[in-house]
């Protein structure tokens, strides 16, 4: 069930009404049943997986908590079970294929799986939540006593499929306390849902059609064209994922629960380290707490610290998908973080460099540079293979002109610019795309600004009514008939 579907438009109000009309003691159960119905709307059989993992982790949590010396063994069992499940569903094909590729030169027989494996939706997210739970119980947190609350923590439908990855210490107390609904909470929840839908259906979905055209036939386009596709994808993935998060947060708010933010104006980051503090915050903090720190974190020698960064980011890349291009994207992020650390060391030693970078102009230049470095990373992320990504990046960095065949379609002024892109007439988005891209850069700031409730609170009611009505209208009118899935659903 997609958040931007007609089904969800019916499902959410029904659950909302049931939740608030029923007594407090039933509410966790209502949400739990609703969450299971939500999960079963795709492939009912996978409900067994989520219920199975919930029971296993619930009892292992107690086992870890109660056993003294052997708690490490229980933790190891819990982590192996969770990661094993993830590896089976998500990485079995990838591992088989990689091993086969390695065996090929030696002339050894190729491996193949004798059965089909379907990736359950949201598995990467709820498995990470389970691991966080057992590790934190191991570190001394109290396990969750209520099975229904624990089951709901992992399956809560607004965050079930694509996060944000929650922390049980923040979330469980909200379930146990009586939920409150006020007009202000209701209004802010609806605003968040509308804002999320606006980002998803109006911006991300329309950009996706455009991006698809470029990434499927990159050889036709010039380096300049490919930069525009990379910018477009940068905004597509941001608006898609942050739109999803807004809908998730808004939906959770309707039941009186708060879900953490996941984005904080990421494209205004002034370096790559800053970017990771602003992008997919719930994942980057999870990676920090449950991978980077256990590896030794930064309290080790310089080279071990760099190793830890690279391992964390590469595995983080692989978490996004079982494919080499995600692995390379993660590795690229790790290398960038290491390079940034090294640069920080150099900067600290050269005062004029430090002053230049810390100046206003230096900061603006840093933001622009970081954005472009991130965009190059997105090419690895979006391109279907590493070879395609590398060829695209090569064309982008050398500003390769378009092929004569493609350019032949372009009129005079565009030929001079060696751009094919403006001549493509895609029905939904064109010709607004070229007007839209610069606007999106501004919108990126504006959307983050709108997310802060104080601004909305200070606006006069009439303006809020008109704004909200306009959003409803735009979402209804401009939703494409065939909306692509949220990008992060596949992870």
């Amino acid at each position: 069930m997609l958040f931007n579907s007609f089904k969800y438009a019916l499902f959410l109000p029904i659950v909302f009404a049931l939740f608030w009309l029923c007594p407090q003691k039933w509410r966790v159960w209502i949400l739990l049943i609703a969450s299971y119905v939500f999960y079963m709307s795709w492939r009912p059989v996978f409900i067994l997986l989520i219920i199975g993992l919930t029971l296993v982790n619930y009892y292992l949590g107690f086992a870890i908590h109660k056993s003294g010396k052997r708690k490490k063994h229980w933790l190891a069992l819990a982590v192996v079970l969770n990661l094993g499940t993830l590896a089976y569903f998500k990485y079995a094909y990838f591992l088989t294929e990689t091993v086969s590729q390695c065996l090929k030169p030696a002339g050894l027989p190729q491996l193949s799986l004798p059965f089909e494996i379907i990736l359950p939706l949201g598995i990467s997210f709820f498995v990470f939540e389970f691991i966080h739970y057992v590790v934190d119980v191991y570190r001394g947190s109290e396990p969750i006593k209520s099975l229904s609350a624990f089951a709901l923590f992992a399956s809560f439908f607004p965050t079930q499929i694509a996060g944000p990855i929650k922390r049980f210490q923040d979330f469980i107390p909200q379930f146990l306390a009586p939920a409150q609904l006020s007009v202000a909470i209701f209004d802010s929840a609806i605003s968040l849902i509308l804002l999320g839908l606006f980002k998803k259906v109006l911006i991300a979905d329309n950009l996706s059609f455009f991006v698809q055209g470029g990434f499927s036939q990159p050889h036709l386009f010039s380096g300049l064209d490919l930069w525009i596709f990379a910018y477009a994808f940068a905004f597509q993935i941001y608006f898609d994922f942050s739109g999803y998060t807004d809908i998730a947060r808004g939906s959770a708010n309707l039941f009186g629960y708060k879900v953490p933010i996941n984005f904080n104006l990421p494209y205004l980051a002034c370096n790559i380290s800053d970017f990771w503090r602003r992008w997919h915050i719930s994942l980057s903090t999870w990676l920090r707490d449950y991978l980077f720190i256990p590896l030794g974190g930064s309290r080790v020698s310089k080279w071990l610290n760099y190793r830890n960064l690279i391992i964390t980011m590469t595995l983080g890349g692989l978490w996004h998908g079982a494919a080499m291009h995600y692995l390379l994207w993660g590795l690229y992020q790790g290398v960038l973080l290491v390079a940034h650390k090294e640069f920080q060391n150099v900067k600290a030693k050269i005062s004029w460099l430090k002053n230049a970078i810390d100046s206003k102009a230096g900061k603006i230049a840093s933001v622009i540079l970081t954005f472009h470095v991130v965009c190059i990373g997105w090419v690895f992320f979006r391109a279907e293979t590493n070879a395609l990504a590398l060829s695209m990046i090569g064309r982008m960095l050398t500003f390769t002109p378009a092929t004569e065949l493609a350019l032949g379609q372009a009129p005079g002024p565009l030929k001079t610019l060696a751009m094919v892109l403006p001549t493509i007439n895609f029905p939904l988005i064109y010709p607004a795309i070229f007007l839209l891209l610069p606007v999106l850069a501004i919108a990126h700031v504006a959307m983050g600004w709108l997310n802060t409730t104080t601004i909305i609170e200070r606006t006069p009611k009439t303006a809020k009514v008109i704004w909200c009505c306009a959003m409803m209208f735009l979402v209804i009118v401009f939703s494409p008939d065939k909306s692509p899935r949220f990008i992060y659903f596949q992870f």
Partner: protein, 405 residues
């Protein structure tokens, strides 16, 4: 006490700006509905103003410009589209612009030769046309003073069962014809899932939802205007992007073709190239959806019954296919398709011509496993004209339909 509580609750509800916004939207929606009903000129909404110009849009646009009803209307999918354009390109030795070429000069000339009269044909031969699409075209456009004397409809098994199609109402043709005419009588048969039916109902109730394509058109017009002003770029209605890039986009986007998007050129002197497309058809035929098949058969019956009532002679042609293509169909399906179609055609006293005969159309006449090439198109219309002349009842109707001038 209770009397005091009610207004308080209302006050609380009305203090929510989200609820007020929803009410405002409902009022605007209602206003829109009233305006379309009582003062449609104020909004000047028209299905002919569309953001995406699909093939059916170009056809309907030209059909509406006809001064009177054509004598013969051709219906069919790309299997009819290929011989129509290719046949004329070969016959006239001129490239045919698909956006504007909506008649068969070749058929008109062949009929003139055989019957000694002149005929005006019009073709709704459109890529992906299902039987339901053919029915909605006939139901919406071929009526009143626009009724033809003869309908020639080329069918193939794919038009009855296509696993790439979720429901009858999901095609570009159906969606557009739903804007042009009133298709409420077939709502139940055309919508697939209960969700789709729900969406259909919503579009009936809500002005905003129903008129989404109109608002999209307005956005396009404004954006193009702005683009012109900012960049001084004039030719925004032309489509220059390479077809293979656009094809990729059309997997997810609605069809859109400019006035010079596609030309069908005369066949080369040497043999025409053959493109293998069996993989595509393996996918289309992979699962026999009996519900879809029966529903499409029912649409064929509706079309024939409507034509019977209108006194229009219908000729159903089983279009030529390669033997490789027929072999891909589920076991026993082709025979069952032929028998059932034949039964319905007989019931409504139409003419059934089975032209799927490899001795008549060997592989040299095909451009792939289903589409005829230029010479194949020419041959197709020659065979068709002969068969029309041979059938006495049809020949009599055609004889009467033509103009002696």
């Amino acid at each position: 006490m209770q009397g005091e509580k009610a207004p308080n609750k209302l006050k609380v509800l009305m203090s929510s700006y989200a609820i007020c916004a929803a009410l405002l939207l409902l009022s605007i929606d209602l206003g829109g509905r009233l305006l379309t009903q009582y003062a449609p000129q104020v909004l000047s909404l028209s299905p002919f103003k569309a953001a995406n110009r699909s093939w059916v849009w170009w056809n309907v646009r030209d059909f509406n410009e006809l001064k009177s009803a054509p004598d013969i209307v051709l219906l069919g999918s790309s299997l009819m589209m290929a011989p129509l354009h290719g046949g004329d390109a070969a016959h006239l030795n001129l490239p045919q612009n698909v956006a504007f070429h909506h008649h068969s000069q070749l058929l008109e000339d062949l009929l003139k030769e055989k019957f000694g009269r002149t005929y005006r044909t019009f073709a709704f031969a459109l890529g992906g046309e299902m039987v339901s699409d053919a029915y909605v075209i006939a139901h919406t456009l071929l009526k009143d003073d626009r009724k033809p004397k003869v309908i020639i409809y080329g069918i193939a098994p794919r038009d009855f069962m296509d696993s790439a199609l979720p429901s009858a109402s999901s095609t570009e043709i159906f969606k557009y014809m739903d804007r042009v005419g009133d298709l409420s009588e077939i709502d139940k048969e055309s919508a697939g899932s209960p969700w789709e039916q729900g969406e259909k109902r919503l579009s009936k109730v809500s002005f905003t939802y129903r008129h989404r394509p109109d608002f999209l058109y307005v956005q396009h017009r404004w954006a193009k205007e702005l683009f012109r002003k900012l960049l001084g770029y004039e030719e925004l209605d032309q489509v220059r992007s390479p077809l293979h890039v656009r094809k990729q986009a059309f997997l997810e986007l609605p069809e859109d073709f400019g006035p010079t998007s596609l030309f069908v050129t005369p066949p080369p002197v040497i043999a025409e190239p053959y493109k293998a497309n069996l993989e595509e058809y393996k996918f289309r035929y992979r699962k026999l959806n009996l519900k879809q098949f029966n529903s499409q058969l029912a649409f064929l019956e509706r079309l024939l019954a409507m034509a019977e009532d209108d006194d229009t002679r219908v000729v159903i042609i089983n279009m030529p296919l390669t033997t490789d293509n027929v072999a891909l169909m589920p076991a026993g399906f082709y025979q069952s398709y032929l028998e059932q179609v034949n039964g319905i055609v007989k019931k409504h006293q139409a003419l059934f011509l089975d032209l799927n005969d490899p001795t008549l159309f060997p592989q040299k006449y095909f451009t792939d496993s289903v589409h005829l090439n230029g010479r194949g198109g020419q041959h197709f219309f020659e065979v068709l004209a002969d068969r029309l002349k041979q059938d006495q009842q049809t020949a009599a109707v055609i004889e009467k339909a033509g103009n002696t001038k």
